[in-house]
C-alpha cells in the first residue's frame, strides 16, 4: 500500500478565491518568515517592525523604498514583454550592467564638461547598451535556434567581468587609491533630487511612465496583442502574420532597453560612479517581481514596491537586529513560492490517494 499526492484541476475558480489568494500568500509567507526569525532567537515582532512598519512610515525610509523600486519597476516591466510572449530573458542583470557601462562611459568621456545634454545622452546610451546586449540572445535564437534562456543567463557573467575589467583597467580613477572604481561623476552627470533636501530623483518618474505605457500597450495596442498572441497561441499569431522572429527581437530590445535604462539610472542617481557590484542582483530580483505581479504591468508596479520595502527593511535589520541580508533573499523566495503555490492551489486541489503497491 502506498500513498500519493495528486493535483486535480479545479473546474471553476471563484472570484473571491482569486482576490483572497495573494493576501493569504503574503500572510503565510509572513508567518513562516516570523517563525524562522524566532528560531534564530530574535523577536518576530521587532523584525516585523523593522522590515515592514519602518520603511512604510518613516519618510526618509519611504524615499529609499521608492528609489529601490525604480530599477525593479523598469526591469520587470521590460521582462513582462518577454515573458508574455513566452520568450525567456533571464539575463536582465547583464543588460542592466551594460546600461550602466554605456551610460557611465558617456559620463566618464564628458568628465569636466557641463551642460543639460549630458544626462539625456547618458540615458540614451544606457538604453542602447541594454538593447545591444539583449539583441545577442535574440539574434542567436532567431538565427540558430539556440535557447535564449541559456545565452541570456551566461551573458550576465560576461557583463560582470567586463565591468570588472573596465573599472580595474582603462576606466580606473587615477586618484582613487587603486580602488576598482571610475571617477566620481560630476553634478552634470548625476540625476538630481526632485525636491530640495530629498533623495528621490526623476528616475522614479520614468519608471512610472514605463508602467503607464506598458499598461496601454497591453490593453490597447496592436503590438501588445501580437505579443500576447505569440505567447498564448503561436499558430494563431502565425495566422495573423505576426512575424515570430521579429517579435522575439523586439521584446528582447524592449526589455534590454528598459534594463539598460534602469542601469544608468542606478549608476547616475544612486552610485555616482561605476564600480563592481552595482547590479546587486536587481536584474534577477526583477524576475521575481514580474511573476509576483502576475506578468501585469500594474501588478509589477505593486510588487516592485513590496520587494523594495523588504530590501530596505533588510538593510536596517542588518544593522539593528544583526539579521543576515540573505534572510531577505530567503524571504523573497518564500513570498514567491507562497504566491505561486497559492495560484496552483487555485487551479488545482490536492488529493491524497491510496494505492495498492
Amino acid at each position: 500500500m502506498s500513498f500519493n499526492l495528486a493535483l486535480v484541476p479545479r473546474r471553476e475558480i471563484s472570484l473571491f478565491r482569486q482576490v483572497l489568494t495573494p493576501v493569504i500568500a503574503l500572510v503565510v509567507a509572513l508567518l513562516i518568515g516570523g517563525l524562522i526569525v524566532w528560531l534564530m532567537g530574535r523577536s518576530p515582532a521587532k523584525a516585523f517592525d523593522v522590515f515592514l512598519r519602518e520603511p512604510l512610515t518613516d519618510p526618509w525610509a519611504l524615499q529609499e523604498v521608492l528609489l529601490k523600486s525604480t530599477p525593479l519597476m523598469l526591469i520587470s516591466i521590460g521582462l513582462i514583454f518577454c515573458f508574455r510572449a513566452n520568450r525567456w530573458n533571464i539575463g536582465a542583470e547583464g543588460q542592466f550592467l551594460l546600461g550602466g557601462i554605456f551610460g557611465g562611459g558617456v559620463a566618464i568621456a564628458t568628465h569636466g564638461l557641463s551642460g543639460p545634454w549630458i544626462l539625456p545622452l547618458m540615458m540614451l546610451a544606457g538604453v542602447a547598451g541594454g538593447m545591444l546586449y539583449a539583441a545577442i540572445p535574440a539574434a542567436l535564437r532567431n538565427r540558430f535556434g539556440i535557447s535564449e534562456i541559456l545565452t541570456s543567463l551566461m551573458l550576465v557573467y560576461v557583463a560582470e567581468l567586463l565591468l570588472d575589467y573596465l573599472v580595474r583597467g582603462p576606466w580606473r580613477d587615477p586618484k582613487g587609491f587603486n580602488f576598482p572604481q571610475s571617477v566620481p561623476f560630476t553634478d552634470a552627470a548625476q540625476l538630481q533630487p526632485l525636491f530640495e533636501g530629498g533623495r528621490l530623483h526623476s528616475g522614479f518618474v520614468l519608471a512610472l511612465l514605463a508602467v503607464i505605457v506598458a499598461i496601454l500597450v497591453f490593453k490597447r495596442s496592436l503590438f501588445g496583442f501580437a505579443v500576447k498572441a505569440s505567447g498564448e497561441a503561436p499558430r494563431a499569431a502565425n495566422f495573423a502574420g505576426f512575424n515570430e522572429k521579429r517579435i522575439t527581437l523586439v521584446v528582447f530590445l524592449i526589455s534590454g532597453g528598459l534594463a539598460g535604462l534602469a542601469g544608468i539610472i542606478e549608476v547616475s542617481g544612486q552610485v555616482g560612479q561605476l564600480r563592481p557590484g552595482f547590479g546587486q542582483g536587481l536584474g534577477f530580483t526583477a524576475i521575481i517581481v514580474a511573476f509576483l505581479g502576475r506578468l501585469s504591468p500594474f501588478g509589477a508596479m505593486l510588487s516592485s514596491l513590496v520587494i523594495a520595502v523588504l530590501l530596505i527593511g533588510a538593510e536596517s535589520a542588518q544593522v539593528s537586529l544583526k539579521l543576515p541580508f540573505d534572510l531577505t533573499r530567503f524571504f523573497m523566495g518564500l513570498l514567491l513560492i507562497a504566491v505561486l503555490a497559492g495560484e496552483s492551489l487555485n487551479r488545482y486541489r490536492l488529493e491524497f490517494r491510496k494505492e495498492p503497491a
Partner: protein, 506 residues
C-alpha cells in the same frame, strides 16, 4: 436491450445567464448506440463533459449501473468505466501515439508491455495506427484513432464520442462504425454526437434531441427520416442550398503554376507540380481523402507555412510565392484554416479581439491605440449576420460551441469582403442549417464576383458547392473539371487512385 448503464436525471448547468443544460434526462443501456443530437450550442458537449467529470452540474443526478455517483474529475469518471473522445483533439503534439495512449493510464508508461496490449486492442477493433510516430505528423483520422484507442484501453463500459466523424473520410468513418458496432455487441454503451444525420440513422438505435439545453424529443432515428430529425433539432425545415444565378466569370484570382511544396514534417506529403486556376466568380472545390497533401496546400496558399520548392502562387495576377499571409490579404485574399481554435482564433481572447487576427493587415483598426469601438462593431456584425450563438455578448473564443466558433471564423473573413476566399473544411462540425448558411454565403460571395476555393473532405459538400472540382491524391492534384461532367464514381476513383497518366492533366 441490455441492463441500464447510465441514467442522467434533471441535469442543469448554467454559464452565467445561459442555461446550457436545462433539466436534461437521458438513459443509456448496455449494447446501445445512442445519438445525442441538436443544433450548434444546444448543449451536447456540455452534457457529455458533465458525464465525463469535466464540468459539475448545478443540479441533477447521475446514476451509473443504478448507483448514484458524483463525478468530481475525469479520473473519477474513468474509474466508473466512462471513456470520452473529444470534439477538439486533446493529444500532446510532440509525443508519440503510444505515449499519448499511456498518459491517462495511471501508473503505466509507454513500454513493451503496453505496446503489446495496445496492438492487440488495435487489431481487435481494426484500428490501424503507427504507434511510434509523433502526433504532429498524423492526419486527423489517425489522431482520431489514437483518441479512440486511448479511451478503449481503460475497458470502458460507456464511450462518449463527440463529433468523431466530422474530420473523417468516408472510409475512415465506415471503419469507425464497424469498431463501434463491435464495441456495442460486446456490451458497451455508446453515446454518439454528430451533425451527419444519415450516419446517425445508419448507426444508432435511439436518439435524444436537445434544443436550447432542453430535451425536446427521444426517438428511434431509423423510424424517422433525416429531414424529420433535422426539423426536431432546429424547430423548422432546413434551408435548401440556392445555386448562384448565372454570372460571368472574371479574371483569374488564384493561379498555381507547377507548385511543388516540401512535405510538412517527416510524414507529410510533398506536393508535386500542382496546376490550378480559380477565376473571379467561380467556386472550385478540392476533394480528396485527408492526409493527401491538403494541409501542405493550404499552408502554401495562405503563406502560413509550406516550403515551396518550385513553381508559383499568383494572387490577383501577382506572384506571392514568397510573400507572407498579410501581403496576400492585402491583395484581397481571405483564409479560413482547418483548426478554428488556436489557429483561426486565440482561445483565451474575446471574439472582439479575435477580429484583429485577420483584420489588422488590411483594415485601419486605430493608429496608436486599437479602435475598440470599431473592433467591437465588427464582432457584433459577424455574430448577428452569421447567427453565432454566444453565451454572453463578447465571450472568449474557447467558450463558444464548436459549430458556433466555425460560423464566427467564416463570418469574420467574409466581413472583410474578400476577392479571393480560401476555406479549409468550411462546415466542420456545423449543424445542417448553419452548414447550409455558410455554403450559401460562400456561393453568394462568388456570385458577387469573388473567387472561392474550398478544400473539403466532405464530397457531398464539395459537389453541392463547386462549379469545378479537382481531387487531391498523394500530393497530386487532378485537373479541375466541371462538377456537372463528373460522376461520383469517377471522383471516388480519383480519390483512391489518383489521375491515371493516360488521361493527363489539363
Amino acid at each position: 436491450m441490455g441492463p441500464e448503464r447510465i441514467r442522467l436525471s434533471g441535469i442543469t448547468k448554467a454559464f452565467g445567464a445561459l442555461k446550457a443544460n436545462d433539466h436534461v434526462d437521458l438513459t443509456l443501456h448496455a449494447g446501445e448506440i445512442h445519438a445525442l443530437l441538436g443544433e450548434n450550442g444546444a448543449g451536447k458537449s456540455t452534457l457529455m463533459k458533465i458525464l465525463y467529470g469535466l464540468l459539475r452540474p448545478d443540479s441533477g443526478e447521475i446514476r451509473i449501473n443504478g448507483r448514484r455517483v458524483s463525478l468530481p474529475s475525469p479520473q473519477a469518471a474513468r474509474a466508473q468505466g466512462i471513456g470520452m473522445v473529444f470534439q477538439h483533439f486533446s493529444l500532446f503534439e510532440d509525443f508519440t501515439a503510444l505515449e499519448n495512449i499511456a498518459i491517462p493510464l495511471e501508473g503505466r508508461i509507454a513500454d513493451a508491455g503496453l505496446r503489446a496490449q495496445v496492438e492487440a486492442k488495435a487489431r481487435h477493433f481494426g484500428l490501424a495506427i503507427e504507434l511510434d510516430r509523433p502526433v504532429h505528423t498524423l492526419s486527423a483520422g489517425e489522431r482520431q484513432r489514437i483518441e479512440i484507442l486511448r479511451a478503449l484501453m481503460q475497458e470502458p463500459q460507456v464511450i462518449i464520442l463527440d463529433e468523431p466523424t466530422s474530420v473523417l473520410t468516408p472510409d475512415e468513418a465506415e471503419a469507425l462504425f464497424a469498431t463501434l458496432d463491435t464495441l456495442a455487441s460486446e456490451g458497451a454503451g455508446i453515446l454518439f454526437i454528430s451533425h451527419k444525420l444519415e450516419e446517425v440513422r445508419r448507426l444508432c438505435s435511439r436518439a435524444t434531441i436537445l434544443r436550447g439545453g432542453k430535451v425536446v424529443a427521444e426517438t428511434d432515428p431509423r423510424a424517422v427520416s433525416a429531414a424529420e430529425l433535422a426539423a426536431l433539432m432546429v424547430g423548422e425545415g432546413v434551408l435548401e442550398l440556392r445555386p448562384a444565378g448565372e454570372h460571368a466569370l472574371g479574371a483569374p484570382m488564384l493561379q498555381l503554376d507547377g507548385l511543388s511544396v516540401a512535405p510538412d514534417g517527416v510524414h507529410g506529403v510533398a506536393l508535386q507540380a500542382i496546376h490550378l486556376t480559380v477565376q473571379a466568380g467561380e467556386v472550385v472545390a478540392i476533394a480528396g481523402v485527408a492526409g493527401n497533401g491538403q494541409s501542405e496546400l493550404y499552408a502554401a496558399l495562405s503563406g502560413e507555412g509550406g516550403r515551396v520548392t518550385s513553381g508559383q502562387v499568383r494572387m490577383a495576377g501577382q506572384d506571392v510565392t514568397r510573400r507572407d499571409i498579410n501581403a496576400r490579404r492585402a491583395l484581397g485574399a481571405a483564409f479560413v484554416p482547418e483548426a478554428r481554435l488556436g489557429q483561426a482564433t486565440l482561445p483565451q481572447g474575446p471574439l472582439s479581439e479575435n477580429v484583429i487576427l485577420s483584420w489588422h493587415a488590411t483594415e485601419s483598426l486605430g493608429r496608436w491605440l486599437l479602435d475598440t469601438v470599431r473592433i467591437g462593431t465588427v464582432a457584433r456584425n459577424v455574430i448577428e449576420r452569421f447567427d453565432v450563438r454566444t453565451p454572453s455578448p463578447d465571450p472568449l473564443a474557447a467558450q463558444l460551441s464548436g459549430g458556433n466558433l466555425q460560423k464566427y471564423v467564416v463570418g469574420r473573413e467574409i466581413e472583410r469582403k474578400p476577392q479571393l476566399m480560401i476555406v479549409d473544411q468550411p462546415s466542420w462540425g456545423v449543424d445542417a442549417r448553419a452548414a447550409t448558411h455558410i455554403r450559401q454565403t460562400l456561393l453568394d460571395l462568388a456570385a458577387k464576383g469573388a473567387a472561392v476555393l474550398v478544400i473539403s473532405q466532405d464530397l457531398d459538400e464539395a459537389m453541392a458547392m463547386a462549379d469545378r472540382l479537382a481531387v487531391m491524391h498523394g500530393g497530386h492534384l487532378s485537373a479541375a473539371r466541371p462538377v456537372s461532367a463528373l460522376s461520383r464514381a469517377e471522383i471516388g476513383l480519383l480519390m483512391t487512385q489518383g489521375e491515371s497518366p493516360a488521361r493527363g492533366a489539363a
